[in-house]
């Protein structure tokens, strides 16, 4: 594989950039694989990469209904963090943070991981206490966290509303300095390029139409481009989990919902950190291109439409202005929607299933992007070893029967309000 470097870039400039290799090949499905990963998003691509790299399993196909990285991988707001309270979430995410820090070099693809820090703003002493509980938990788990007072927040984001004309004054915030953002498309492409180079078949425009399950065991998968024999299938299709589960006669504790995001026109750098509003649900960061990338609440009803409605955005942007009034003057350039797997406790599922050879990776709610490397890594382990890794033990399906729930927000099963 061609190495990406400044030297190669200069060298290629002299041949008019005509000699670059394909980043990945468009494969056609073979008759049989050792493992088929369904879903060519970040998690699926990462799973295939770690199957090859960590477990030496390379007779692997990724099958993708549309185009690679075209689901939530290409629609998220690129926030990467591990500021969780529950141990299972925290340790899993922090393991992922390590993978993020090395990712550009590991993949030889600049994914632009940028640890610019995330600040969760608090608007009351009670909220400061709730954040302290989470921050202390993070620290005891070895994750960086700082509790900022009002003045400290003001120093970092002076453009937030510190005036008197404010409904919910800023009391302080919880900051994870090592959190940040990355270039989402690059992560998908980087994983695809490496997986491809190790022999993984990346098959786009290939829709799953059914499964062959005999005697409780996976025997194959049927697709719009032919049947494939395979003993192990990894399901990585957040946003379509319920649809594929139906084809397997399974019901999963996940509902499908719509989340919108939007960006403003690009402006010169004004906001360095990722910031979230504490008196509602709004988050913002500024991309390298200069766009303010913003999101917040779900549209609030089950949906598979990748298009949202304005009142939700209006509500989200109202909170945005409440937090940073100057945003009022910027112009919203583009909006889009993504389909979320909203699990019943807000935490994901990475587990085996009652069908032998069928592995499930779903329920990422709106936190899937940051989990890409850790999810791929643990899912690859679960598939390769046919047992869960300690890191994803908490993400079991059975927790909905045992009560070992991982409800970070304490909102329960009303998936649409979280």
């Amino acid at each position: 594989m061609q190495k990406y470097s400044i030297f190669n870039l200069i060298k290629n400039a002299f041949s008019g950039h005509q000699k670059w290799d394909l980043a990945w090949k468009d494969a056609t499905p073979k008759k049989e694989y050792d493992v088929v990963i369904i879903g060519g998003g970040g998690h699926g691509l990462a799973t295939a990469y770690y199957l090859a790299k960590e477990h030496n399993i390379t007779n692997v196909a990724i099958i993708e209904k549309g185009w690679l990285g075209g689901g939530n991988m290409g629609r998220n707001t690129t926030i990467i963090r591990s500021n969780y309270m529950h141990d299972d979430n925290a340790l899993f995410s922090e393991f992922g943070m390590d993978l993020w820090r090395k990712m550009s070099q590991d993949l030889n693809y600049n994914v632009m991981f940028s640890p610019r820090g995330i600040i969760n703003l608090a608007h009351s002493d009670a909220q400061m206490n709730i954040f302290a509980r989470r921050g202390n938990s993070m620290r005891l788990n070895g994750i960086d966290a700082v509790l900022l007072n009002r003045e400290e927040v003001k120093e970092i984001i002076p453009m937030a509303d510190f005036s008197d004309n404010v409904r919910f004054p800023i009391f302080g915030g919880l900051m994870q300095p090592s959190a940040g953002t990355a270039r989402h498309d690059a992560v998908a492409w980087g994983y695809a390029r490496q997986a491809d180079s190790m022999g993984v078949d990346i098959i786009q425009n290939c829709e799953v139409t059914g499964f062959d399950v005999v005697g409780g065991k996976i025997q194959g998968v049927r697709t719009s481009r032919g049947d494939i024999k395979v003993k192990k299938i990894g399901l990585c299709v957040a946003g379509s989990t319920n649809i594929l589960a139906e084809k397997l006669n399974m019901t999963i504790p996940v509902e499908t919902h719509l989340l919108q995001a939007c960006v403003t026109e690009p402006v010169k750098p004004v906001l360095d950190s990722v910031v979230t509003f504490g008196a509602g649900h709004f988050y913002i960061s500024q991309s390298d291109k200069g766009e303010m990338v913003m999101g917040g609440d779900l549209d609030g009803y089950n949906s598979y439409a990748q298009r949202g409605n304005l009142p939700t955005l209006q509500h989200v942007l109202t909170e945005g202005i409440a937090m940073m009034p100057f945003l009022s003057k910027l112009k919203m350039l583009r909006t889009w929607g993504g389909i979320m797997d909203m699990s019943m406790d807000g935490s994901p599922i990475i587990d085996k299933t009652h069908i032998e050879g069928l592995y499930l990776n779903c329920g990422w709610c709106y936190g899937g992007f940051k989990a890409t490397p850790a999810s791929g890594w643990t899912f690859a382990h679960t598939i390769a070893q046919d047992r869960v890794h300690k890191l994803n033990e908490g993400y079991s399906l059975s927790r909905f029967n045992t009560g070992h729930l991982l409800d970070e927000k304490g909102l329960g099963t009303k998936t649409w309000i979280s």
Binding site: P253, E255, N302, Y304, A305, P311, F400
Partner: protein, 88 residues
């Protein structure tokens, strides 16, 4: 913004309503034996499919009645709305 016909009040914009999830979920009867699995299915497991979806909404800023709505989750088209006690 969805336009929902409240069977009690008529066509109203979505911002008068709040959503209540899958309308096909039947709460098990009180005081009746039920298996763990059936109970968990009631609490946690939803089909949440693409296409026609029967769901609950409450006309919270209106008559406060819960209503049943049949809506396409892919297109958001609404086919039918009925009162709480009616079948959909």
């Amino acid at each position: 913004m969805l336009h929902i016909k409240c069977p009690h009040c008529g066509m109203r914009s979505q911002n008068e309503f709040s959503y209540g999830g899958d309308a096909t979920v039947k709460r098990p009867e009180l005081n009746k034996e039920i298996s763990d699995q059936d109970w968990d299915n009631f609490v946690y497991y939803r089909k949440s499919l693409r296409g026609k979806h029967k769901e609950l909404w409450q006309h919270i800023s209106g008559c406060r009645q819960w209503i049943k709505v049949e809506r396409d989750t892919a297109t958001h088209e609404i086919f039918k709305t009925v009162k709480a006690h009616e079948d959909i």
